[in-house]
Symmetry: C2
C-alpha cells in the first residue's frame, strides 16, 4: 500500500507548514497513523525522509511545469502561469510563505547539506523560465528568469507578512504585463 510514499507525502506537507527542524516524528506519526518507532522500518534517519521529500518536490514541480506547457504553447502565458501560483496557492503562502524560499532559508541557517537540494528546486524553475524567455527571443533570458524568481519570492514574503490580497493581485497583473513586454518575436 506504499506506506513509505504516504510518509513522504505527509512529511512534505508538514515540513512546509512547520519547518523541518520544528517537525518531530510525533507529528508525522499522528498524521500518517503509525507509531513513532515504526518510522525506522521505512527510513534510517530523519534526514533520509527529507531527502525523499526534496525528490518528491522536484517531481511535483516537474508535473506543474508539464501542466503549464500542456495548457499553452505561448511562452509568455506559461511564465504567467508560474507567476499566478501566488494566487492559486494564496492561502498557503499567506500562512507559511513560499515553499521554495522558506525551505532554502531554513537549510541555509542550519548549514544543512540539503541546501543543495533547495537550490536544485530553484534551478528547475530558473532553467524552465529562462527557456521560455529564450523562446520569446528576449534579451538576457537567464537574467529575466532571475527577475521572475526574485519577484515571486518578494511577493510571497509580502503575502506572508501582510496578507494584502489587493496588493498581490495588482503585482501579479503588473508582472505578467512586464513579461509580455519582453517578447521580441515578430508577432
Amino acid at each position: 500500500m506504499g506506506k513509505r510514499q504516504d510518509i513522504v507525502a505527509i512529511a512534505e506537507d508538514l515540513f512546509y507548514r512547520q519547518g523541518f527542524g520544528q517537525t518531530p516524528f510525533t507529528d508525522l506519526a499522528g498524521a500518517v497513523g503509525i507509531s513513532r518507532g515504526n518510522f525506522y522500518h521505512h527510513f534510517k534517519t530523519k534526514d533520509d525522509i527529507l531527502a525523499e521529500v526534496v525528490t518528491l518536490r522536484l517531481e511535483k514541480s516537474r508535473s506543474m511545469i508539464a501542466g503549464w506547457e500542456a495548457q499553452s504553447a505561448d511562452p509568455a502565458d506559461r511564465i504567467c502561469a508560474y507567476i499566478r501560483i501566488l494566487l492559486a496557492n494564496q492561502e498557503l503562502i499567506e500562512n507559511f510563505g513560499c515553499p521554495l524560499g522558506s525551505f532554502a532559508n531554513e537549510m541555509a541557517k542550519a548549514q544543512h547539506p540539503m541546501t543543495a537540494g533547495a537550490r536544485q528546486l530553484f534551478d528547475l524553475f530558473h532553467g524552465w523560465l529562462a527557456q521560455q524567455f529564450t523562446d520569446m527571443a528576449a534579451a538576457r533570458p537567464e537574467y529575466l528568469a532571475m527577475r521572475v524568481l526574485q519577484f515571486s519570492q518578494g511577493a510571497a514574503t509580502m503575502s506572508n507578512t501582510y496578507r494584502d490580497r489587493n496588493f498581490i493581485s495588482e503585482e501579479v497583473a503588473r508582472m505578467c504585463e512586464w513579461v509580455r513586454r519582453q517578447d521580441r518575436r515578430e508577432e
Copy 2:
C-alpha cells in the same frame, strides 16, 4: 555591567543566524560566557528573551533610519540607502537571509505570538519609506513603499539562494533608478 543587555545582543545575532527555534540555551550560554541555569536569573522564559530581541531590533532599525535621514535630505537618496542594505550586509544575507523576512516566516510557521512583532519591524520601514515617497510627491506612496519592501525581500532571497553578486548589484542599481523616476517634484 548590563549582562541582561549582553544576553539580548547575542541572542539577536544567534536567533538571526540559526533561527529562534534552533537556538538552544547552550549556544547562548557559550556565546555570552555564563551557564545555562543563570539565564533564569535574567529572564523568566525563552520567549521573554525573544520579546526583548524584537525590541532591540526595533531600536536598531530606528537608528539606521535616523542615520539615513542625517546623511541626506533627499528622500530618493534615503530610500536608496535602505535598498543598499543588500550590499552593506551582503555576506550576512547570503548566509542567513534577510533578518526581517526570515524571522517573520519562522514566527508565522510556529504560529508564535511574536508574528506581530515581526510585522511591527516591517511596518517601521514601510511607514518610513511611504513618508519618503510622500516627500517626493509620488503617487500612491504606500503602494510604492510596499514595492520597495517586496523588492528587497525578493533580492535577499535570491542572494541567499544564489549568492550572485553581479545580479544583486545590478538589481540595486536598477531599483534605485526606479525610485528616482517616482519623483514628481519640480526640481
